[in-house]
Amino acid sequence: MSKIAFDRMQFVVADDNAHMRRIIRALLHGFGAREIHEAEDGASGLEMVETYQPDILITDWVMPIIDGAELVQLIRNPSANKNPFLPIIMLTGHTERKKIIQARDIGVTEFLAKPISAKGLYDRISSVIERPRPFIQTKTYFGPCRRRQDKPFEGPDRRKADQDSSADSDFPAMAS
């Protein structure tokens, strides 16, 4: 039996390339999703997120006017957006390490490099649902905790409160 009820989920897909949108739609349909809203650029992606309040946003990076990175930053603005916690999967042709780090640092939930595959997309959606991460807000960052809970953190702990065991006591795996 299927573990995830895709037919209960709503997606917004933002990609300026019509062929890519068709491919993503076909894959999501294959999983069982029925409510898929397509946006041709970052601006209409933001509008659709506001209008439909989807469960997951899948966005391309390279788009005209407002690109995927700017779209993520607009969504991860708690004072300007209704759901800054929205899970965001960045699906992009960028494969460079610096881009993956940049995506993480602007608050992307999951990163998926093209070429797209059914398994790759399923894994990212499944991760969003089954392993949701706490959100962290600092002066310069708002987004999912950048320390994966299932991976031990190594190195000096720069977060002051992590030295105070009471503050993060709900997240034992995060405490280093």
């Binding site: 039996m1 299927s2 573990k3 995830i4 009820a5 895709f6 209960r8 989920m9 300026d16 390339n17 062929h19 890519m20 068709r22 491919i23 076909a26 894959l27 999501l28 349909h29 294959g30 999983f31 069982g32 469960d55 390279v62 005209p64 916690f85 899970p87 992009t92 042709g93 960028h94 494969t95 093209k114 070429p115 797209i116 059914a118 398994k119 997309l121 399923y122 894994d123 499944s126 969003v128 649902i129 089954e130 949701p132 991460r133 706490p134 959100f135 962290i136 807000q137 600092t138 002066k139 905790c145 977060r159 002051k160 409160a161 105070d164 503050a167 993060d168 709900d170 997240f171």
Partner: protein, 182 residues
């Protein structure tokens, strides 16, 4: 929706939301991946594959148009024209593998890298601008040749040799121009 945040001196933690998990996880569902769902999605993708040759031609037309636009452009108009070519190449880089042409992915990856690096270079003189346009054009010609000859194998010797030559030309251009500004 997240629960009440834990406030610390330098950050606030919102515990992981489980609303979506509750909404879409079926009771009694098997843990781990749902291979049936993945198989259905792969079938759906296969169902689209009859369009791939047409879509590829469409993307290549777009790439060639961006290259044609670049010819004769210099100075302050160059960055915008390069952006247009970058977007077209980046789209193809992301899709060509799915369409069955991995060597087009590699060619476009080389073109994207060349443009991204060139954009960050300070003061490229006119001769160097023309050289950049020329190398970009060779990439586009290679993409067209791979499609025209229907080269789908990743290990196609001639295809690989062509890409290797393009990469060397790009590297030489970057080396001669000097270090990017960032």
């Amino acid at each position: 929706m997240m629960s009440k945040p834990a406030i610390a001196p330098d950050h606030t933690t919102y515990s992981a939301g489980t609303d979506l998990q509750r909404k879409v996880t079926l009771p009694g569902g098997m843990p781990g991946i749902d291979q049936d769902a993945i198989d259905r999605a792969e079938q759906a993708l296969k169902g689209l594959s009859a369009n791939f040759d047409l879509w590829l031609k469409d993307e290549i037309r777009h790439l060639a148009a961006a290259r044609d636009h670049l010819r004769g452009i210099s100075g302050e108009d160059l960055p915008e024209a390069l952006d247009e070519l970058f977007r077209a190449a980046h789209d193809l880089k992301g899709q060509a593998d799915t369409f069955g042409y991995p060597l087009i992915t590699l060619t476009c990856a080389s073109l994207c890298q060349l443009i991204e690096t060139a954009k960050d270079m300070p003061d490229i003189d006119l001769a160097r601008q023309q050289r950049l346009i020329e190398i970009s054009g060779h990439h586009v010609d290679t993409v067209r040749a791979i499609e025209r000859k229907k080269i789908k194998a990743r290990d196609h010797k001639l295809g690989q040799a062509l890409i290797s030559t393009l990469q060397k030309s790009s590297e030489m251009f970057i080396e001669q121009q000097g270090t990017p500004t960032r």
